[in-house]
Symmetry: C2
Subunit: 154 residues, 2 copies
C-alpha cells in the first residue's frame, strides 16, 4: 500500500522514541530521587557539582546545555533546600559562583548507589553492556551533530 504521507507516521520517526525514552528515564529515577527530595533536573545539577564543585552558572549551563532562564530558578530551589550557595564573584561581578554546602556534599553519599541500582535493574534484560556502550556512543554522536545544527548561529 502506497502512502505519500507514510513519512509522517509516528513509528517511522526518530524524534518520538527519543522523547519517550527521555521521559521514561526521568520516571525511572523518580523513586530514588524522591528519597533525596530532589527532582531529576536538580539531580543533574548536583551531579555536575559533585564532579566539579564551585563553578559559575554559565559553566553548569555548558555542561547540561541549559541557560540561566532555566538554571536560575532551579538553583534557587536547591539553595532553598540548603544544598548549595550562590554568590557573585568578586573578580567578575557578572558571574555567580555556585558551590555545594556541607549538606549538598553529604548528599553525594546517599546518591552514590543510584547509578548502580538503575544499572542493575537492567541486568535481567536482553540488553548487553556492549550494546549499551554502542548505544551511548551513537547517542553522543547524535548530540554533537544536533548541537551543531541547532546552535549553528552561535
Amino acid at each position: 500500500m502506497d502512502d505519500k504521507f507514510a513519512s509522517l507516521y509516528l513509528d517511522k520517526q526518530l524524534c518520538f522514541p527519543l522523547y519517550a525514552a527521555s521521559r521514561l528515564t526521568t520516571k525511572l529515577y523518580g523513586p530514588y530521587l524522591d528519597k533525596l527530595d530532589i527532582t531529576y533536573p536538580q539531580y543533574l545539577v548536583m551531579l555536575v557539582l559533585w564532579q566539579h564543585n564551585s563553578q559559575t552558572v554559565n559553566k553548569i549551563g555548558q555542561r547540561l546545555m541549559l541557560e540561566s532562564n532555566t538554571l536560575t530558578p532551579l538553583l534557587k530551589r536547591l539553595e532553598a533546600k540548603g544544598l548549595l550557595s550562590r554568590k557573585r564573584a568578586e573578580i567578575d561581578e557578572r558571574t555567580v559562583i555556585v558551590a555545594l554546602t556541607k549538606k549538598g556534599d553529604d548528599l553525594k553519599a546517599a546518591a552514590a548507589s543510584i547509578p548502580e541500582q538503575i544499572f542493575s535493574s537492567f541486568q535481567d534484560e536482553s540488553v548487553s553492556i556492549a550494546e549499551i556502550t554502542i548505544f551511548k556512543d551513537m547517542l553522543e554522536k547524535l548530540i554533537n551533530s544536533l548541537d551543531e545544527k541547532v546552535n549553528k548561529a552561535k
Copy 2:
C-alpha cells in the same frame, strides 16, 4: 585514579545524553513547526491524528505515553487553533472523541516535507542510514524495557 563516586560522573550515565538528545531534537524541529504555528508536543498529537483520525483522548495518550492531565490542555489549544474538535461520545459519555477539522487535515500537506527535511539535514554526516536503523531499534528496545519497569504497577 580511583574514585568511589566515579559512577556519579555525568558522562558515565545514560540518562543525561537521552535528556539532551530529546531537547535538541525538539529544538531542531522548531523552525519547521513555527511555520505551522504548533509546538513539538502538538506536532506529535497531529502525527497521531493524521495517521489514525477520530480517536479518544485515552487512545492518543496510549500512543504518545501521555495522560489527560497533559493532553487535555494541549488538545484545547489545538482546538482553539481550529485544527481539531473534541466531543463526548454518545455511546460512552466518559470518553471524548478527538477528530481533525478540515483545517487540521489540510495541515498534513504542509507538514509532509518535514521528515524529509530533517532527515536530509543529516545526509552530510558520518551517520549512515544503517546506523540510524540500529539506533532506532535499540531505542525501542530500551523504551519497552523502561515502560515495563516504570509502569509495572499498572
